[in-house]
Amino acid sequence: MIRLTFEQKEELGYNTVRSWLQPASPYGAARLKEEGFYGPDRREELEQEFDNVAVLLEALADGEAAVLSLQQALSGLKEVRGTLAACRERSLTEAELYELTAFCLRLRDCIRRAEALPGHERLHGAGFISPDPAIRILHPEDSSRVSFYVEDARTPALQEARSEKREIELRLRTEAEAGRPALLEARQEAVRKEEDALSEIYRDMSEALRPLLAVLEQDAEAVGRLDAAIAKALLARRFGCSRPVIGGESLVLEDAVHPQVAEALKTRGRAFVPISAELPRGVTVITGANMGGKSIALKTVVLNTLLALSGCYVFCRRTAVPLFENIELINRDFSNAERGLSSFGGEILRFNEAVSRLGDGLSFIAMDEFARGTNTEEGEAIARAAVSFLSKQSAVTLLTTHYDNTAALAVRHYQVKGLKKLEELPEGTVSGTGTDRLRLIEQAMDYGLMEVEPGTKCPRDAVRISRLLGLPEEILQEAEKAR
């Protein structure tokens, strides 16, 4: 079970990326909302979801007109599941019968367009059942024109009431003032008869629809699934996402991108440097300089893992994602202050909760700068002990840290390439505003990851960065002496 809080999903960029999925119908929207994360018990369903996205991507590559025309038709569908449920209990009103008529006619159109998609026979869960029996009840004239009206001939009682009413109404058109009250009164009687006849017809229609409700609900479900898959395929096409390979015990990402960060960088004229990493069972550590993008690397890994397990293609060239039982994120939690906890206290509590949820199945634990919020000596000791503990669990763990010694216990150690390009920069303070200096450092950073021997020391460049940022020389010299 993957239980991340709203704030965590927000922080990871997961909510943002999911909001880029634009379903056309309320059914697709509901499907995306209820889909959740696929665990080991839903493996087949997850693969089917990817198959559907694959079929739709092929259809899009074949010529997007067919998919877009289906999407257009889907956008005309209104939510009727409440009306379907109401129909089990009572007679529907004319407005509700109109809504069902419109739904069935538009659904028929959607089915026709879905079946025109190349490869549609390979779509899972898109086995629509024709709404024609319901259309015959609601719309016996069976035109494609969306409207609801009970024709006079439906029952003799209706025919009689309407013709009586019509005759009076024709006379009213030309009647002098004096004769109108009597005619209006007579009309009231005809109106009552028409209303009686119609409510009987609405009751019969509702009864006749009752055995068909389950079929319509099934179609609504299928529509939602198809609509959601189209949204996923369109997003995958827009960003060139790939289908993740599901299974195994190692989390593998090749050239992974965090799309939200990438978009933000793009507006500043910069490109996201893709990261690659392989995280086997055990603990993988990422170390790196200040401002080196360790947290971004962690977010990129977790986000793409979550997307894969929610049935989306991922922002990577290639990925393998184990079907995790459980995903835990232990990061600095900004709601701690409200609960009266320091960030360190909050982290420890969250670690406890995560550990208590570890089971026999494979978990994924991501920890950002664990135990950073306390003194370095104890912080490092706690982080090391946690790594040692987690190494023995049934889990893939990813930890970002400043503490080199922690990395010595890891199965794998990555460093952010980071500051290599800094060699090209001037030695002293950079001139310009603070923002100019930050931008220069940003440009000198290589955010890519490189694998190193576990425990390799981080390059020591905090003093150098401080100098570039204009920290007073007096302080810098003092700091260098102490090193």
């Binding site: 209104k78 407005a95 009206y149 109404e169 030309t174 003032e177 109108r180």
Partner: protein, 337 residues
């Protein structure tokens, strides 16, 4: 103008907004008259709606009888879902609009018979544009809107529309005052159209909100703007703002106050006239056409005005055709249908 037909007065207006000065002004009667006149018109059928709820058979405020709206076969109507069963015209439902009121979604139906309809259209004037488009897509011709002066309805008639203003003895026991107040409303509805100065630079907000209702800030803003000939006011020009301006010592001669449309001027007549006397001019960015004023000489309170005198004095005061829609003589003339 005793026997004038409303249809002739609205010309080829695509949208007609009906406004009433007060309850029992005869607005619904005027609307029914216009619907009947349009029933004979060939071409695309008329469509009916209201701004907010109207068309009950009893007036909920004064408890007096109020004529329900009677529509004709083939016409379209846009009304809230919950009012459908309260209309007795045979209906073919054509669309849900996705626009919601407190009485449910606004639905569009085609009348498959003649009959009574209860109207509750969008309560938000901004929803009228999408509604107009939907109605046009369903084959509607003219759109008749049962509006209300207080609900900013005149805006709906901007561009290609016309307004019909209904007034009557119910407004005031004094004929004098009834005529004067109606003439004032007509004058506002007839304000000239002007383009905003430097509109491409964005709005110039003259009046801010002061929680104490004091216009101090407004005056500063105005003084800053002095030397301009035209001040563009975004949003409504309210009575308290205008009264503050009237009391202030700033020079007002030659100043034009420009609002979006007639519905944005919410001033008492005295304030409007006071500012006008000091040389302030008023203008709107979207003018409407006041096609006619209808009068009802009988009040709900029991008093009534002499019919011909009332109509004639109104005619002198408003400068547009005035007619009494309450007289029955032409209403059921067979030639009307």
């Amino acid at each position: 103008m005793k026997n004038a037909r409303l249809k002739g007065l609205i010309g080829d207006a695509k949208t007609v907004v009906m406004l009433g000065m007060c309850k029992n002004a005869g607005k619904t009667t005027a609307l029914c008259r216009l619907i009947r006149e349009l029933a004979e018109e060939g071409g695309a059928p008329a469509a009916l709606t209201s701004i907010g709820r109207d068309g009950e058979s009893r007036d909920l405020v004064t408890g007096t009888d109020k004529p329900p709206i009677y529509m004709y076969e083939g016409m379209l109507a846009a009304t809230a879902k919950e009012l459908l069963p309260l209309s007795d015209v045979s209906r073919e439902i054509l669309a849900g609009t996705g626009l919601y009121t407190s009485l449910g979604e606004v639905m569009i139906f085609r009348a498959r018979s003649d009959g009574f309809v209860q109207l509750a259209g969008p309560a938000i004037v901004g929803h009228l544009e999408p509604l107009k488009e939907m109605l046009r897509g369903l084959g509607a011709g003219r759109l008749l809107i049962d509006g209300a002066l207080s609900r900013r309805s005149p805006a709906a008639a901007a561009k290609d529309g016309a307004v019909i203003l209904s007034t009557g003895a119910s407004l005031d026991r004094s004929m004098e005052r009834t005529v004067t107040e109606t003439a004032y409303a007509a004058r506002i509805l007839c304000l000239p159209q002007e383009a905003a100065p430097g509109e491409e630079k964005g709005h110039f907000t003259l009046f801010g909100e002061d929680k104490n209702g004091r216009p101090a800030e407004d005056l500063n803003a105005l003084q800053r703007g002095m030397g301009e000939e035209t001040l563009l006011i975004s949003g409504a020009l309210t009575e308290s703002q205008a009264a503050g301006l009237l009391r202030s010592p700033v020079r007002k001669e030659g100043l034009t106050l420009l609002v979006r449309d007639a519905g944005c001027l919410m001033l008492q007549r005295e304030t409007f006239e006071g500012l006008s006397r000091r040389g302030v001019k008023f203008a709107v960015r979207n003018a409407v056409r006041l096609a006619a004023v209808t009068v009802n000489p009988v009040s709900a309170g029991g008093w009534h005005f002499p019919e011909d005198e009332f109509r004639e004095r109104m005619q002198e005061a408003v400068g547009v055709p005035v007619l009494n829609v309450m007289t029955g003589e032409e209403s059921h003339d067979p030639a009307d249908i």
